[in-house]
């Protein structure tokens, strides 16, 4: 590298660094804060990448010398509660498809952080429509397919992008994960049996680890015993030898990480609820095509739903899905988000903005549709203190539109992440 090129590159880095601590003013004819009602002629003041003030433009003094951008409609940056962008790439070839490992049925140890490519073009694609946060990672398809992470749709490295890891452990009950570990699981009954066995192992593992740690603390070490134990247990592990798989599942059992179970049929939803009751983990339902049949049960058990994309294909186990499910879940009082999901072919990713729009056209109110891809998605991810609404102290993630964001013919005209304009133009 020549010295001038080096200087240029260095200069660029400096700029980026400055941009991280961004000050900005965003004005909107309508500002949907998702915390209270919409503001007409509103303004959002951003300082150091955080929201410093939100309110009516007439009530707030604008800081001097700060860049101002404007749009007809301003919303919080959209939150996609479950996708696979960056893990399953645009090209859908071997080199960019890391969303599903098929070597075993249960592999919760697989971290999405080790597979996420923030440079994938699909990340940029969704960002162009106002999506600033995605819960991405291992796709459905194995009994336990791995972990997810929550990322901002920006940054050149995963470390810059990630805001929560692990976010979830993901499992699938139903035809989606049949034979994901060779012959087994071959039936729904076997799927649940395998999950139960594994969770029981994780419980025992956690107890043994605790005991071993207690022993260590007490200064009593029986090295030979533990060696024997780990040999005997093989993959199961135990004693003080670490087992990543059971470690992750014990975090699930401790409630540190939710278990997100992909289910579509009502009967499979009930299996998930039964498991949750037995083991007490934090359950999030994923896809849930027939959730409208058991909405009251979900409400009673306070189980949130990351609903399938509204335009998901109504075939196979999802044959009974409905455009109206979101509206029905809302009516039943179930906390839900609408996801982009995983797509194996074309389109390679869906866009939650469009999925929420179709739900809004089928009985869901505008505000509730927007909530399903902002604040309610943030709540399900446990990140509502940081993202999902325009409130003082939160990350300055915003999306700008030239008209009703849900309308087909409107455009996203800007995306802001941590106070920095990351997408411009008309999309």
């Amino acid at each position: 590298m020549t010295s001038s090129k080096f200087a240029a590159a260095f200069g660029l880095l400096l700029c980026t660094g400055l941009a991280l601590a961004q000050n900005l003013v965003v004005k909107g004819k309508t500002v949907h804060t998702m915390a209270g009602g919409a503001i007409t002629d509103g303004v959002v003041i951003i300082k150091d990448g955080k929201i410093a003030a939100v309110g009516k433009a007439s009530d707030i003094k604008l800081p001097d010398g700060v860049k101002v951008i404007e749009a007809a409609v301003v919303t919080p940056g959209l939150v996609d509660a479950r996708g696979t962008v960056g893990v399953s790439g645009l090209y859908n070839t071997k080199h960019d498809s890391d969303q599903l490992e098929r070597s075993a049925a249960i592999q919760p140890e697989m971290r999405a952080i080790d597979a996420y490519n923030p440079m994938d073009k699909l990340v940029e694609w969704v960002r162009g429509f106002g999506i600033t946060t995605v819960n991405t990672g291992n796709a459905p398809g194995a009994l336990v397919s791995g972990q997810t992470i929550v990322v901002k749709t920006t940054g050149n490295t995963v470390d810059e992008a990630v805001i929560l890891s692990p976010a979830m452990v993901t499992a699938t009950i139903g035809p989606g994960s049949l034979e994901s570990g060779g012959k087994a699981p071959g039936t729904r009954g076997k799927q649940v049996a395998m999950l139960r066995e594994e969770l029981i192992k994780a419980k025992e593992y956690a107890e043994k680890r605790k005991a071993a740690e207690a022993k260590k603390k007490a200064g009593v070490e029986k090295k030979e015993d533990t060696k024997d134990e780990s040999k005997e247990e093989g993959k199961g592990g135990g004693g003080d030898s670490r087992n990543l798989r059971l470690e992750m599942l014990s975090d699930v059992l401790d409630g540190k990480v939710p278990l997100t179970i992909t289910v579509n049929r009502a009967q499979d939803i009930e299996s998930a609820l039964r498991l949750q009751k037995e083991f007490g983990f934090k359950l999030i339902l994923d896809m849930a095509a027939e959730s409208y049949l058991v909405a009251d049960q979900l409400k009673a058990a306070s189980i949130p739903v990351i609903l399938h994309p509204t335009m998901y294909r109504a075939v196979g186990e999802a044959e009974n899905l409905s455009f109206e499910t979101a509206a029905k879940l809302k009516k039943a009082g179930v906390l839900f988000a609408i996801q982009s999901g995983y797509e194996g072919y074309v389109p390679k990713t869906r866009v939650v903005l469009f999925e929420a729009a179709l739900a809004a056209a089928n009985g869901l109110k505008f505000d509730d549709a927007l909530a399903s891809i902002t604040i309610n998605a943030a709540k399900i991810l446990g990140l509502e203190a940081r993202i999902g609404s325009l409130e003082v102290g939160k990350d300055a993630d915003l999306a700008l539109y030239d008209n009703d964001p849900l309308e087909y013919t409107s455009h996203c005209v800007g995306t802001v992440i941590d106070g920095k304009v990351v997408s411009e133009g008309k999309r």
Binding site: W125, M311, N320, S322, V346, K348, T409
Partner: protein, 472 residues
């Protein structure tokens, strides 16, 4: 229900299909007037027609009788006994034409070879498939059901009208098929290039081989055509010369070859090629082959058509390339050759002067939300008029059906849809779909609504049998 419906509908009594049956009788016997809607005729006597703010459409015996404006105090004349349907506040446009669909649980060519022109998708079609209920829920009235793209030539497509037979859902393929006069079921020929049909032998493994295999078959088809022509000429001459029956019987036709027969229909222009193609160079290859053999072709999907829009326009002027049927999906990619797919493709083609239609590729996209494709086209810069024409008349032109469908003009099939609002709005629903003067979908019927929005019992839709997809 927002619509004031005629007395004969009131008589219809219970049950969805009873109501429809009654509708049939009305439509066939007496005129029906759709009154008070915003009307989007698309075209009138060969010229783009402006939208009518408030108007009336009168249909009779399955055909459109008249379209008129009711603005400035104008009234309309309808014969006694006309069934009046109040459509105030609604929008009426022609039934939508889908140039590329896979509904019906179809399966055409199999794994035995890559060029299978004799295979007819019509022989694999299940009229009971719930996909057809969703088609009418989306306002689609004419569709081209195609074999998949896993073959260089995947078989014969079928052009269908979403009719109800005697007011009941169709039971036979023949109830739904479009027939060309005496010539049987109308359809095109499905072809594909690029990566979908590429795989191990006997399929092609490279683009060069793909084109070579297609050329070889077209040359054989040409030669077969020559033999048939020679036979016909000999026979005609013998008859004209007054030869004896014995001598005439000695003149034998060439052994029939169903594949070459179908390809000769392609070569004569009677059967249009519907060509799956994505990459700009693949599009150019299709145009090159069309020029060499003189077949008429519609370019389908065309992910990279925006790169060669002027070249496509030039080929269209030469007469054999009929235009582009564009698919709109939510993101690019999914395979390498669709990596540069753009929402702006339709707009770019329109500006270059290329005839543009859209298609669902159902089940790639859902027929129920097909109007969204036009709306996203407009989002990316297409004109409103162009986008609405792309959903209707331009598609009809790509199926040689423009004299029958695609616009609201007197004499054309009474295929129309009643919308709750603007066709390009996400909030708009298709409220009713009419085909040849019969109502085939009504959102106010519980069973129709179930298929329109989904829900328990919406039915088992069959995935198309897409044999032989190759390298992605």
């Amino acid at each position: 229900m927002p619509m004031k419906i005629s007395s004969c509908f009131v008589l219809a009594g219970t049950g969805v299909w009873m109501a429809l049956a009654s509708g049939v009788a009305c439509a066939q016997d007496k005129p029906t007037a759709f009154v008070g809607a915003r009307i989007i005729p698309i075209e009138s006597a060969g010229k783009a027609s402006p939208e009518i703010e408030r108007g009336v459409v009168i249909v009779k015996d399955g055909k459109i009788v008249s379209i008129a404006s009711l603005e400035k105090g104008a009234d309309y004349n309808a014969p006694d006994g006309t069934t009046v349907i109040d459509c105030k506040g609604k929008t009426i446009m022609p039934g939508i034409v889908d140039t590329h669909s896979h509904v019906g649980g179809i399966g055409a060519a199999d794994g035995s070879g890559t060029i299978q022109p004799s295979v007819r998708v019509s022989d694999s079609l299940n009229p009971f498939d719930s996909g057809f209920r969703r088609v009418v829920a989306g306002g689609l009235t004419t569709i081209n059901v195609m074999p998949g793209s896993g073959h260089l030539m995947g078989g014969q497509t079928i052009y269908m009208k979403m009719r109800m037979k005697d007011g009941k859902p169709a039971k036979r393929m023949e109830d739904l098929a479009v027939f060309i006069d005496d010539d049987g079921v109308a359809g095109g020929m499905k072809m594909a290039n690029g990566t979908n049909p590429m795989r191990d032998p006997p399929f092609s493994g490279t683009r060069g081989k793909s084109a070579a295999m297609v050329r070889e078959q077209y040359i054989k088809a040409q030669e077969y055509g020559v033999k048939v022509k020679e036979y016909q000429d000999k026979l005609a001459k013998a008859k004209a010369d007054g030869k004896s029956e014995e001598e005439i019987n000695k003149i034998k036709p060439p052994a029939r070859d169903l594949g070459y027969e179908a390809m000769d229909e392609v070569l004569s222009g009677k059967r249009i090629v519907h060509h799956h193609t994505h990459r700009a160079d693949d599009i150019a290859t299709v145009m090159r082959l069309s020029k060499e053999f003189g077949f008429r072709v519609v370019l389908h999907h065309v992910s990279e058509a925006w790169k060669v829009a002027d070249e496509i326009a030039a080929a269209q002027k030469e007469g054999k390339v009929l235009g582009c049927s564009v698919i709109v999906v939510d993101s690019p990619g999914g395979k390498l050759e669709a990596a540069e797919m753009s929402f702006a493709t339709a707009a770019t083609l329109e500006k270059a002067g290329v005839r543009v239609a859209f298609h669902t590729d159902d089940w790639i996209t859902d027929s129920r939300i097909f109007l969204r494709s036009a709306a996203l086209g407009v989002r990316a810069g297409m004109s409103r008029a162009g986008a609405l024409r792309a959903m209707t008349l331009s598609g009809a032109e790509m199926l040689d059906l423009q004299k029958r469908v695609g616009s609201l003009e007197p004499g054309k099939d009474a295929d129309l849809i009643i919308l709750s609002g603007d066709p390009l709005s996400v909030y708009t629903h298709v409220e009713q779909t009419w085909v040849e003067g019969n109502k085939v979908f009504d959102r106010s019927n519980a069973d129709d609504l179930l298929h329109a929005v989904g829900g328990f019992g919406a039915g088992r839709d069959q995935e198309p049998y897409f044999c032989c997809f190759g390298n992605q």
